[in-house]
Structures are given as C-alpha cells and as structure tokens.
C-alpha cells in the first residue's frame, strides 16, 4: 500500500536487494560457464536447513513483481513500491545472495565468472537506469588476485560505492585477503559485509530459524573483530567497513568487550595501536535494520554508549520479509540525529555519493 506522505527528510538506504535470475545472467557469461548453467540447470548450493518463515518466505508478501517474477527482479516495480513511494534520495544495492560468488566452496573459476557477469548485469540494468541506485562490486574473494582484477575493472564506475563480502564461515580480516582491501581503499570503495547463510552455532546450524536469526550479530562480531585484530584498519587507514543487517544494539557491548580484551592481550596483536572502540568509531558503520523495537530513551542510551552518533545508518532491507519502514521502524529521535541516521552518516561513509543538497531559503 502506498504510503500517503513521503519521508520529509533525505533517505539513503544502505540495503536494497535486487535479484537476478540465472537466465538473465547467461548473456553476460562466456562458455563454458554459460553452457554449464544451461545444460545442468546449475544453481548455487544453499546451506540453510530451514525455510525462512516470513508470511511468504524470504520476501515481503507484497513485494513479488505483479507478473509473478520474484521480488527485487524488476526495477520499475521497485521504483514504484520503494524508491518513489518512500522518496529515497539514494539506495545501495547489495544483491540477493544468489549467486554469491565469494560464498562458493568449490570451482572458484566459476565464482570469478559469476562475479564479473553480475557486475555487468547490475551496471547495465540498475545503476545506469536509476540515478538513485548505487552498487556493490561482487567479487570472488576466495581468489584475491581475481578479486583485485574485478575491482580494477569496475571499481571506478561512478556508481559503484562498495565491495561486497558475504558473511559465511571465512573471517575476512586474514592477511590472505588484504589485497582486496588495498584495492578497495585505492578506489574509494567501502567494504560492505552482509550475511549470507553463516553457520552460527558452533560452526553448525541451530535447530530453529528463530535461533539462527536471533544470533546473527555474532557472525557480524566475528568479522568486525577479525578486521580489527588482523590490523586491517592500521594498514589501510582510509578503509571503511559497513556491517549490513545485524542492527546496532550489539555494538556498544562489543566495543566494551574488545577494549577490555585488548587491554590485557595487546601483546598478541602489537600491530593494533589503539583501542578497538576507537577503531570502530572511525572505521565501522552498521545499519539499523533489522531494528530492535526501542523507545526513544532506549535508543538514545545505545547511541550514548557508543559515544558516537555517526555509527548507525538507516536501511530497509527491501524487499525482504524483515523490511523496516522508514516511517515506522525508529522512534522519533529529533531532527539532528534523524538526519544523521537516515542520510548523513551514510553520505559521510560513501565518498562517491552525491553531496548534500543545500536547502535554498527564500
């Protein structure tokens, strides 16, 4: 249902899932990859042992394209249901996780081909068709040299703003992946991490989806600590990390925890030169969604404990079942903080987003 009033303030939405079908990727693939998909009906392996139990599964029940195509597959329907209806200034595309080249556990050459095809498809069908949409560079991070080549190939596209890494079971801070961060920094690209289907229960899956989904922040914490304690931000001082889709309430506790651990264990990681909480404040941003229901007072306490109002950035997660409405998800927070959360923190994070429009006063 169309919202009657548009959001009054600028919105930069850090998590919008566009969806490709394998058929649509075929023209962007060479052989043998094209034949492999066509002849064997190949689709990427999935790991979740349960269905996602929204009313219609993974997607909002009202987001399926009216002609029956899957949610997120059609730009004009997305424009109508999200970008125009809400009044987005900008949105960042994060893929639909299928394919997710960096998640592949075998045949990395295929992963490389898929990442390249995906980027070309994304640029042609989304980034160059709507001014408001910005993109993520998909890579096959298992093969850092190929990943760097792909960042070199498309990273300077004016609408590519980040490199996307899925959260599965590889902690990305490992020096093996550092060439990716070097290339991202050189191209003014943020590293965006979004969970794929991580085993988050002692390396396996918990019995119920509600458990898996509730402990998702754990997998984000693993990545944040991996990036910090492997010295990524000391090595690449201009690199920024966007942790997408685990909310933000875990951050203050985790900042305190890492600081306390660092004080007693610094001798293990002497390349880390300052308090983890200070690294988080300078380098890490997180999204609101999926938002925990908070009163204004509760919300402000979390911001206070982070000691920064620049870490939290708004996202909807459209078209997924746990979409957050820009009109209803957050309590009223006051003009200044709302401007930061809904747009300005993201604008500061992504150097390639347009500058803030200056209000013309009569």
């Amino acid at each position: 249902m169309a919202e009657k009033k548009q959001q009054k303030r600028a919105i930069i939405d850090m998590d919008i899932h566009e969806r490709v079908t394998y058929d649509e990727l075929l023209p962007y693939l060479d052989n043998p990859w094209q034949r492999y998909i066509k002849d064997t009906n190949w689709v990427q392996e999935k790991h979740l042992p349960y269905p996602i139990l929204g009313a219609a599964g993974l997607d909002r029940a009202d987001a399926q394209v009216p002609d029956g195509r899957p949610a997120g597959n059609d730009l004009s329907f997305m424009q109508q249901q999200l970008l125009d209806d809400v009044g987005h200034e900008a949105g960042i595309l994060t893929g639909a996780g299928d394919p997710s080249p960096s998640s592949m556990n075998g045949w990395y050459e295929m992963a490389v081909a898929l990442a390249t095809a995906y980027n070309d498809w994304q640029i042609e069908n989304w980034l160059e068709k709507d001014d408001r949409l910005y993109g993520s560079v998909h890579i096959a991070a298992q093969d850092p040299a190929s990943a760097v080549r792909e960042i070199e190939r498309v990273g300077s596209h004016p609408k590519m703003v980040q490199v996307l890494l899925p959260i599965d079971d590889r902690p990305w801070g490992d020096p093996y992946y550092h060439p990716i961060f070097e290339a991202a920094e050189r191209h003014n690209l943020v590293i965006g991490m979004h969970h794929q289907e991580p085993p988050n229960y002692y390396g396996k899956f918990p019995r119920y989806f509600v458990e898996w989904h509730s402990v998702m922040p754990n997998t984000h914490m693993i990545q944040v600590s991996s990036m910090i304690f492997n010295g990524v931000f000391e090595k690449y001082p201009n690199l920024k990390l966007a942790m997408i889709e685990a909310g933000f309430t875990y951050i203050p506790a985790f900042m305190k925890k890492m600081d306390q651990q660092y004080k007693v264990l610094r001798h293990e990681v002497p390349w880390v030169k300052r308090m983890p909480s200070s690294i988080v404040k300078d380098h890490v941003r997180v999204t609101t969604q999926p938002v925990d229901e908070l009163t204004r007072d509760e919300f402000l306490k979390f911001i206070d404990l982070m000691d920064s109002d620049e870490i939290v950035c708004f996202s909807t997660d459209y078209p997924h079942w746990d979409y957050d409405s820009p009109f209803r998800a957050l309590p009223p927070l006051g003009e200044e903080l709302e401007q930061k959360i809904f747009a300005e923190n993201a604008r500061k994070l992504y150097p390639k987003l347009p500058a803030r429009e200056r209000k013309v006063t009569q």
């Binding site: 929204g54 009202d62 957050d324 009109f327």
Partner: protein
C-alpha cells in the same frame, strides 16, 4: 460510518480483500466457515497493508518442545512483512501479545450485500 463493501459471493471462504469504509482502508476476511470479519488494513507493528498478507492457521501453544498442533486454519491473518499473527476470530488480537489488536469493524448484511461499519 457505513459502507457496502462487496457482495457475499465476491469473497469466497478462506480469502481476504481490501476495501474502504469512508476514507478508512480495511481488510475484509472470510473464514472457511463462511463468516466475515473486518479490520483496519494496517498492521499495528510497522503499518503494512494486512490485505497483502496471508490467511492461514497457526501451531497451538504447547508444553512439549517439538510438538506442532496446527489449528485455526483460515482464521489467522499473518502480516505480509514481519509475519505477526492476528487471530481474526478473537477480535484481531496478536497471538504473541493478546493485548494488541487490529482495529475492529462491524460486519452486517442486507440481502447479498456485505456492509462494514465503524464500531460505536
């Protein structure tokens, strides 16, 4: 406020539709036993249009982990977004928190017409 929203046969049992009572968007539900129920077409959580949701059943609360007794088929309205379950035969109350419910409307009939009116 009162409005003829449809003919009885326009909504078959087990289905839902959107309609308006004056300016107010509503969701009209017809349970498998043929009864009609009408609620505000807005989820109390983040405001999704309930008419885009699904009419389904729900596993009954149980004391035994692992036990599923699926009941109330066609009497539970699940929100199209986050999937909160509302019991339409219990005034549209949330299963998870019966203190919260969808706005209720009266449903009456004149011949074949389904009439929805605001509660007095």
């Amino acid at each position: 406020m009162k409005e003829v929203v449809c003919k009885k046969e326009e909504l078959s049992p087990g289905n839902i539709m959107s309609a308006n009572v004056g300016p107010i968007p509503i969701v009209l539900c017809r349970t498998p036993d043929g009864e009609f129920y009408a609620f505000t077409n807005k989820c109390v959580h983040q405001g999704a249009a309930m008419s885009e949701g699904v009419l389904c059943g729900a596993p009954a609360p149980t004391d035994t982990p692992g036990e599923y007794n699926y009941e109330k088929e066609g009497e539970i309205l699940r929100c199209p977004w986050h999937g909160i379950e509302y019991d339409i035969k219990n005034e549209g109350r949330m299963l998870v928190d019966p203190n919260r419910k969808l706005g209720n409307f009266n449903v009456s009939f004149e011949a074949d017409n389904v009439i929805v009116s605001t509660k007095q």
